[in-house]
């Protein structure tokens, strides 16, 4: 029996029931989310299940949704079943004031650097990560640059043409 999005959804619903939410298929990619406390359980189930076998972590990143109060940060896992060549997307949401999410490093060794990068840019604290520190930006940086909280650097500069750097009024754009 070929593994389809319907099968995967069914298996997950049998196992996790009401905890599964936001199940959709944008562009055919099965996407779903679960409470953040369950993230390792879901990943482990997807890994161990003899039919699902999502044993490759393609990517791990985060998205900042400033308008979702209480669930501003989404941690996104992109998983790949290499035998059936099927990909899925799994999200967990967390409060930005308390961005603690369990680390997936025990399950996927490749999550190590990806979680460090996600911490570096979004400030998600991965609980249980062996070496959670900045990986790309300078160590002295005291903010998380990809959160949608900060203006572009130095709004007071006059040595650069404002129109070219998104600071000035946009005289070509008339709504």
């Amino acid at each position: 029996m070929a593994l389809t999005n319907e099968n995967i959804t069914q298996r997950l619903t049998e196992k996790f029931g009401e905890d599964l939410s936001e199940v959709e298929e944008p562009y055919g990619l099965l996407t779903f989310s679960a409470p953040k406390l369950l993230n390792l359980k879901v990943l482990q189930f997807l890994y161990d299940d003899p039919e699902l076998r999502f044993q490759f972590l393609t990517d791990l990143t985060a998205v900042h949704y400033p308008d979702r109060k209480g669930a501003e940060l989404a941690v996104v896992y992109l998983l790949h079943n290499m035998r059936d060549n099927i990909r899925i997307r799994f999200k967990v949401y967390t409060d930005i004031r308390e961005p603690d999410v369990f680390s997936a490093t025990a399950l996927f060794a490749s999550a190590n650097w990806m979680e460090r990068e996600t911490f570096d840019f979004f400030g998600v604290r991965f609980v249980g990560h062996p070496n959670l520190k900045r990986i790309l930006n300078v160590d002295e940086m005291d903010y998380f640059p990809l959160r949608k909280e900060y203006p572009l650097e130095d709004q007071t500069r006059v040595d650069k043409d404002d129109d070219m750097f998104g600071r000035g009024t946009d005289k070509w754009f008339q709504p």
Partner: protein, 187 residues
């Protein structure tokens, strides 16, 4: 039968500095002689991080030939070089390394910032990019362009030569120079 030998008769020599000439002697000031020697034997240290570095490679090559200006000896160690050519975007994380390279050069030393990124951060007006290398090290000549053509880089080099040739021997001991170094926190 002898081979046809052709001598290059178009060799251009540097002009003699001003001075007193007599029978069997020539007298001029140290400033001028040392300036002349320095400016025609600059050893550049290329610090190339992106596309301006590609333009510099063209400048080095036979077509544009930076060797015509006495700078064919590129040193890839800061200890031997007296001209630091910074070409390309310098990320904030690269900043301390660039500064270290500058500190390892011995006096007298000059710095040429090639291209918009090295001079001002260029289009990368963002959290990760240093907004001009003059935030961490003093710069003598800026070359505009994104990237500048090899002619531009050569023009920058010639302006450095002009500075080097006209520099007073006492300049590096002056209070003004000391203040500049202090402003950058360099001892």
């Amino acid at each position: 039968m002898g081979r046809p030998v052709r001598f290059n008769t178009k060799v251009k020599m540097v002009e003699m500095p001003e001075g007193q000439t007599g029978e069997g002697y020539f007298a001029t000031s140290f400033d001028k002689v040392i300036g002349l020697a320095r400016k025609n034997s600059l050893w550049p240290l290329p610090f190339a991080t992106s596309c301006c570095g590609i333009e510099f490679m063209a400048t080095m090559g036979s077509h544009y030939d930076i060797a015509r200006f006495g700078s064919e000896r590129l040193g890839f160690t800061p200890r031997q070089c007296d001209l630091l050519m910074v070409m390309g975007t310098i990320a904030k994380k690269m900043g301390p390394i660039l500064r270290e390279v500058y500190l390892q050069m011995s006096e007298p030393r000059w710095v040429l910032a090639v291209g918009a990124c090295a001079s001002s951060g260029g289009i990368f007006d963002t959290y990760s990019v240093l907004q001009g290398i003059d935030q961490i090290i003093p710069v003598d000549v800026y070359v505009p362009g994104c990237p500048p053509r090899p002619e531009g880089i050569l023009d920058g080099l010639m302006r450095i030569q002009e500075l080097v040739g006209n520099e007073s021997l006492r300049h590096r001991n002056s209070e003004q120079y000391q203040d500049l170094m202090d402003a950058y926190g360099i001892q």
